[in-house]
Subunit: 259 residues, 2 copies
DNA sequence: GACTATTTTTACGATTATCGTAAATGAATT
DNA sequence: AATTCATTTACGATAATCGTAAAAATAGTC
């Protein structure tokens, strides 16, 4: 009965971290059952993990309502994680400089576990803004997502294309695999991907992959604007060269750490 | 052999969280052995937990040096934890208002797991400042620590006094249990604890416990200054009433969440 | 470049922590 | 009081983690 635990991977830890991740500004309080449902875990395990967090001070439970909230230790850990993550600092200055100099909103993402993670975002003053999750595994409706897809090898790209939900967000959203494939081909020719109101009406963007020393896409930089300020072709003409240059610089800074 | 796992407490999760907590601004990179030593864990367990974090994107490993650093997911979680922890907002305004109005530096701590955790700190402009860890389990050399100790019941207080390291920090640091006991008695009479350069030369402070609805100390508020600006007795005369009032207000805001 | 010391990774049996059912307790509503 | 829903506890079966030990990779020395 040599049922070897096939991997060096601690599932209990994974589940615990998933629980912590549920809490943020817009979801500061959870019930135990809501957590169990969301993570897909039975009540006993949920109880044990939640209880562990409570005893450690990462969660607090309202004695009456049983609502769970982040505890003080969570704030401490949050501090550490943010200040200890130092790609941030390396990259931030460069991005801020470009944003200030050329009056353009810039976003920088890392690509990890088939997921785009927003690392830094600098907006120009006095412009419309929009909310976006810091993490997204949907790649078909953003310039950055398409930039990364366009730089993957064929096999990986097809794998990810298959997993896109292709939900319609605006009248311009790409809603099928073939259209996406065409769009990605065009991005490869150009050297950058574009977004023409596919995510939010009026929001336009150009994005290019950041390539590791090993030749793989490890992230993306993105310039965003609105059709109130620019037409898409203006944005392309004026800034696409700058975008590529910035991507190369960022690759130089982090290209071997995230190879 | 009913060796019941005595508690609903996930040790694996605890260890994992301890690992994450090692990383911060001043310690951004760790080797696996250093982690194992620091936590007091065998290599295999360390390897499994670290590997779990790597696969989840919370840590990255330099392929050459094997140095471990926080990964992008850590930054995302850090964001969530900080923004999702909302005692912060409840309390911050009150503290900022007092600090601005009376031109005094204010610190607020929660007391959890025998540990003081800095929740908020507002300094007056143009004054000397100092660095302090966000978490401390040493209570004998700060006004806030002594404030909390003074409000504990006798048994708990003795327990904690026994665990103080009594390291000498300045010529005024309290270095033995009996002196501390006398100091705490005085604090109880006064209603607040004082710090007269016991931590840093020239740094003075008064602090008072924040008491939960259940009557237990759940934190402390502290006014700090330097002997360049005030003498300690001036600080006491001018501000001790304000300090107590603030502590009561804060207790009203959070007194039942952290009961 | 061979040798040693150190660190990381893998293998696997022994141990024990976690899972998950089920029942008990508690809180809220009618 | 009865019903419902959520949380907490008990406990046996299961599967994950521990921890020794050996292999592999890396760094340091001569």
């Amino acid at each position: 009965m040599t049922k070897r635990s096939n991997d060096y991977f601690a599932k209990t830890l994974e589940k615990g971290i998933k629980i912590l991740n549920l809490f943020d500004e817009s979801n500061p309080a959870w019930s135990q059952t809501a957590i169990a449902e969301k993570i897909g875990m039975n009540m006993t395990s949920t109880y044990r993990l939640v209880n562990t967090f409570i005893e450690m001070g990462y969660l607090t439970k309202d004695p009456k309502t049983k609502q769970l909230r982040l505890g003080p230790m969570a704030a401490v850990l949050g501090n550490k994680l943010l200040s200890g993550f130092d790609v941030h600092e390396l990259v931030r200055d460069k991005i801020d400089a470009v944003s200030a100099r050329y009056q353009i909103s810039v976003e920088f993402y890392l690509f990890q576990n088939d997921t785009l993670i927003q690392i830094h975002k600098r907006e120009t003053l006095n412009t419309l803004t929009y909310h976006q999750d810091l993490i997204s595994s949907s790649l078909y409706y953003t310039a950055s997502g398409k930039a990364v897809l366009s730089a993957l090898d064929d096999e990986r790209r097809e794998e990810l294309i298959k997993n896109q939900p292709f939900t319609t967000l605006t009248e311009k959203t790409i809603t099928d695999a073939d259209s996406l494939r065409r769009d990605l081909k065009a991005a490869q020719r150009r050297g950058y991907a574009i977004n023409d109101g596919e995510y939010i009406k009026g929001l336009i963007a150009i994005a290019t992959p950041v390539i590791s020393t090993g030749g793989k896409p490890i992230g993306a930089v993105c310039f965003t604007s609105t059709t109130l300020n620019f037409e898409l072709d203006e944005l392309e003409k004026q800034h696409s060269a700058l975008l590529s240059a910035l991507a190369k610089e960022l690759a130089g800074l982090i290209g071997q750490r995230y190879s």
